[in-house]
Amino acid sequence: MAILDVLTYPDPLLKQVAAPVTEFDSSLARLAEDLEQTMRAGPGGVGIAAPQVGVLLRVVIVDVSSRPGIPNHGRLVLVNPEIQRWKGMVKGREGCLSVPDFIGTVIRAEHITLQAQDIHGGTQQYQMQGYEARAVQHEVDHLDGLLFLDRLVSRHHDLKPRQS
């Protein structure tokens, strides 16, 4: 296991689309272990995506269980994650290991249905909400070359312009 270097913007790898995982082998297991150790070494990190360490594969780790009172599924290794349904919108504050020293407000779906493979290739489905759903949406964005900077909204304004 190793703590890997986290790429920071403007590293061009952070804006690339990552490729699906096809081999569920020992190198995938090692990547997941290294990602988890790297995430836990960062200050307050509850998620990490493989592109953040320069690996353009669709693998993310999320674990929000350290936050008190938040519904969660514990430590998750999500391979080829796909958000299948979005419901509700909520504003929240996000930061990123790859964008140090900046906190911004981002709109995310409040509830999501997520399908992902586990480390062995088995397909899992999750219903997620709130903080955990936010973390997953943030990490899945990394797999598509999107940073939370690409989704900033004003914290002072409405979620949607009022329809007159």
């Binding site: 960062g42 020293d101 990394h142």
Partner: protein, 171 residues
């Protein structure tokens, strides 16, 4: 080494001020750090951290012509820069009520005593001329926790006050 100065401009609002001021700063080799512009009433206000190697007088002489063109008052202070020294907000406070004198003073005095460090504050007077409504939004750091803040303002019966923890997701 950076030479940070805080440039403040205040005056009647009109379009084009930010573009004109930032252009003249850029042409004179001044670099911007953090800045906050807000229209308050019908007034333009901005405070900008400017990294500029010359003196405060030199910076003023650069800004004065463009400020005069827009009818703005200008002011410069030499400051410590301290970029990347952000404090993270962990509490959000919103407050509103029928407008009266002393709302901010009474609320913020109680909150300060209960450990609040205000990191950002906006107030507005909404409603109508006859029935003005005062609205205040604060984000800050609650050194003694959120519950201490709630208890501190519990006696302000004429105000609606919401105090909530601010969560930040780092991923």
């Amino acid at each position: 080494m950076a030479h940070w100065q805080m440039l403040t401009l205040v005056g009647k609002d009109q379009p084009g001020i930010v573009a004109a001021v930032s252009a003249v700063l850029y042409k004179n080799n001044a670099n911007l750090g953090e800045a906050a512009m807000q229209r308050l009433g019908a007034n333009f206000t901005i405070m900008m951290m400017v990294d500029y190697a010359g003196s405060a007088e030199d910076l003023l002489s650069i800004v004065t012509p463009v400020a005069a063109r827009f009818g703005l008052k200008e002011h410069v202070d030499v400051i410590e820069g301290r970029l990347h020294a952000h404090l993270q907000a962990d509490v959000s406070i919103s407050l509103y009520g029928a407008d009266r004198a002393g709302i901010v003073a009474s609320a913020t005095e109680r909150l300060a005593q209960a450990g609040l460090h205000i990191l950002a504050l906006h107030t507005d007077v909404a409603g109508t001329e006859e029935k003005p409504v005062f609205v205040m939004e604060i984000s800050g750091h609650a050194a003694q926790g959120v519950e201490a803040l709630r208890e501190a303002v519990d006696d302000l019966d004429d105000l609606e006050i919401h105090i909530d923890p601010l969560q930040t997701m780092i991923g």
